[in-house]
Amino acid sequence: MITKLTRLTVTRLAAGLLALPLLASAPALAQTGTAATAAAAAAPSAAPVLGQTPTGQQPQSISEQEVQLFQQLKGDVAGRVSIPDKKAALLIQPEGKAWRDFRREDMPVIGGVIILGMLVVLMGFFAIRGRIRMEQGQAGETISRFNGFERFAHWLSASCFIILGLSGLNIAFGRTLLLPLVGPETFTALSAAGKFAHNYLSFPFTLGVILMFVLWVKDNIPDRGDIDWLKQGGGLVGKGHPHAHRFNAGQKGIFWSVVLGGALLSVTGYTLMFPFWFTGMDGMHLVQIVHAVVAVGLIAIVLAHIYIGSVGMEGAFAAMGSGEVDLNWARAHHDLWVQDMLGPRNDPPKPHPVAAE
């Protein structure tokens, strides 16, 4: 069957291309109306013509010539097209290969190392440290940490980020991880929905990031205290709670990661969403790579953030849950902030019991 198709092809070539300079000597290539009859009639006579050995100078292999051509042209081969789609003027872009290699080979490694690495670290941390409890128990008295608007901003970004992250991860790894499980049909349905969600949820996500930036930037300016906090390992490792204002250095890190990472993801994301509006092919490649790498990085950071805000630390979730945190928790983690909030009337922070021992 295949040979038949091939023969048809040969015939078609003989009849159709007539590329042959030997046109005159090939009257036997008389063309017939249908390929089917042509196959029977002309295939045998086509063979000798096509089989003719080139004489005289031997041409270089086709690819050899092309390699030379590429060397002359140094990279992209671009020209002019009459259609308005100017990116169509890019004839050959070998860089596509670099991007493909990134997506096929580098990205799984980067994503795997960063995300799985973070999960391993968090699990290890949980195994060693367990849930960080409030040493003094609940004070029973609460202090307002985040108002409704602040919480709205946070959860707006957070909920979007989760869906964005999952749909993004699906685009990056779903083909390997999910497709075999659910089958192509469902996977496409999921992915299409994911793409749709990814496009639309980018807007509220960006809005949330902007709001958080505006709301919290004044409390997130790094200061000298952050260095001490960091020196003390933030109290996560070792003992004692270092002093901290409204946000400790760790939280500031999260803030700036989300703000800067979010901004970067937004900029690159919108560039991807409006392809070739702002940049050319090389730019699109770069933007996609940045988007992917920043995304997995931020996902990893947010994973840690989620961990510490939920299972990792007792009392932390309330800050973004009800907005009201237990005074003891606040005193432990944000002593200077509590002082600022309640004024000098309040007891000076007690030396941490653990640290005092």
């Binding site: 092809t9 040969v10 042959l20 590429f70 991007w99 685009i171 192509p184």
Partner: protein, 198 residues
């Protein structure tokens, strides 16, 4: 086994765009979708050459490699096809494609794209051969009818060759011998791993 390829002889191509409109005609390709296009390099200066370009149906096709939903497949004829039922229009294949082949209908929202469309080497898609369903999504299936892609069949100067890779390479080589010059087969070293054999 036949291994279908395109070869554009730039010494012959005169940018007449017959390949482009033949494609539009055969498949009723809508405005804005250019399955095939002609690019002119060194425009207006000595050394000007035009090259007709479409999907080259690469071996180890980059589009297939990067597709998040794995909607591509390669036929026994070496033609790279895809399923529009599976495609989600993400646009990744366009980034990976060395030849700018994938095309997307512009849909309503922002730069959001519809399902990818590209040259099928006139061989339809996964639906049954030569059916209305296949035609509607992918256009005509000439290969199934024993015909070669219309762009090449209608090429005004026989610059664009389509067919079994070995045969069109030999036709091309013969031309080069006859006339004593040639500028190579555009895209072959990028598209075909086995191109060095050609």
């Amino acid at each position: 086994m036949a291994r279908m390829k395109f070869l554009c002889d730039s010494e012959r191509c005169i940018e007449c765009n017959a390949c482009v409109t033949a494609c539009k005609n055969e498949h009723e390709v809508p405005w804005g979708i250019n399955r095939r296009r002609v690019v002119t390099i060194n425009d207006g200066t000595p050394g000007e050459r035009s090259i007709s370009m479409a999907c080259m149906h690469c071996t180890d096709a980059p589009c297939a490699a990067v597709c998040p939903v794995d909607c591509f497949y390669t036929t026994a004829d070496g033609v790279v096809l895809h399923s529009k039922d599976l495609c989600i229009g993400c646009g990744y294949c366009f980034y990976a494609c060395p030849f700018g082949a994938p095309q997307y209908p512009q849909l309503g929202n922002f730069g959001s794209r519809g399902k990818m469309d590209k040259c099928t080497f006139c061989s339809g898609g996964p639906e049954d051969d030569v059916t209305p369903a296949e035609y509607e999504k992918y256009g005509a299936n000439r290969l199934a009818e024993g015909k070669l892609p219309l762009c090449a069949e209608m090429c005004s100067t026989k610059a664009l060759l389509a067919g079994d890779g070995d045969i069109i390479a030999s036709i091309y080589k013969e031309r080069v011998v006859t006339r004593g010059y040639g500028t190579g087969a555009w895209g072959w070293s990028v598209a075909y791993k086995d191109a060095s054999a050609a």
